[in-house]
Assembly symmetry: C2
Homo-oligomer: 212 residues x 2
């Protein structure tokens, strides 16, 4: 079972976009990555992973580091609010709790792996979470998201529960660590340059163009 | 004794640039802030402060958080290396130790407070640290920097040692905390919007223009 999601290093002319469903800056990047990539003639490879597992690997805790730093966290929400405004995105709804558990959504993303279907699902989840304030760890919420976006919800839930799906998500997370990822979103080029953060998206695309 | 450095909130048409001498992203921002501000017709107010004191306030330790996170730290140096390249800055020299103690340099900056002299000193210190790899906590290094840049080194060292100078630097650091600063560099507009990081400089200048 090969698929674009499992190949480790993206080929020349493409950029791996590593995202975590709980991550607000991943949401911001997801909202603009396709338009910018199209303009740059770079193909995006979507890579879901579990940031909590990486935090645990690096810091011994799965919680967001923002939760240990209240002043930085307050700044983050204001920063994102301003970015939503300047990018004409709907007003941000701060998830409660933060971070939300993105495990089930990430497994669904792995199960849905397909160039056309995957981004549609990703956008729907992020918008439910950061625009409508829905709890994306709740299976009924994800069921509704799937149905409203034209997916066969029962089939996708079954696929998300397969051992192979779970194993692929773990593999992706291990790969993220091995490739130097410590936060989300991250972008990796075919020559394995790592770029971290929504604010490095343009730079990552330029780099991918240079080596394409 | 009033001076531009002590006024808390910058007036309309200006932007406060809060920097720490040990901070590599403050160095990157210092290298481009004047050209970008001139283009935006915004006046820069230079604000030295002690990031260690803020880390202690927030995290209970004065050390750089990068030193507790090796993968993130490795990424940071690569990120800065790439930014130096793309901005045609000389190759980065990673300070050893990192972070360097910027206390004496910050006191000198407070003592030198003057629209014309201050930026000249700041650039000289940052370049010695991040381009030539010199130890800016060493008084003889700072003496040499002052002399090579046309300052009266003995006089400035005496001024840096005054109680009033030390008190002003402490006040600046307290102000930074009170205004919501938790990292460096930070930019604050006349309506007290905080922007954090070299990569928010353009956004901060645009904000300052809008309210000017």
């Amino acid at each position: 079972m090969t698929s674009p999601i499992i190949s480790s290093i993206p080929p020349a002319g493409s950029l791996a976009f590593w995202f975590e469903f709980a991550s607000p800056y991943s949401y911001l990047a997801a909202e603009r990555v396709q338009a910018l990539a199209r303009k740059a003639k770079i193909i995006i490879q979507w890579r879901p992973f579990l940031l909590g597992a990486i935090f645990k690997h690096d810091n011994g805790t799965t919680d967001s580091p923002f939760n240990a730093h209240h002043r930085k966290k307050a700044y983050m929400w204001r920063d994102i609010e301003r970015l939503c405004q300047s990018r004409a995105l709907p007003a941000l709804t701060v998830p409660d709790p933060f971070p939300m558990n993105g495990l089930l959504a990430a497994r669904l993303a792995v199960a849905l792996d397909d160039d056309e279907r995957l981004p549609r699902f990703i956008h729907a989840v992020y918008r439910a979470e950061f625009q409508q304030g829905m709890d994306i760890s709740d299976p009924t919420v994800l069921m509704a998201i799937l149905e409203q976006n034209g997916f066969d919800a029962d089939r996708e839930f079954a696929a998300a529960g397969h051992d192979a799906t779970k194993a692929r998500l773990r593999l992706l997370t291990d790969e993220a660590i091995a490739q130097g990822i410590f936060g989300a979103p991250a972008f990796i080029t075919s020559d394995q340059e790592v770029f971290w953060g929504d604010d490095r998206l343009e730079q990552a695309l330029e780099w991918a163009q240079t080596i394409a």
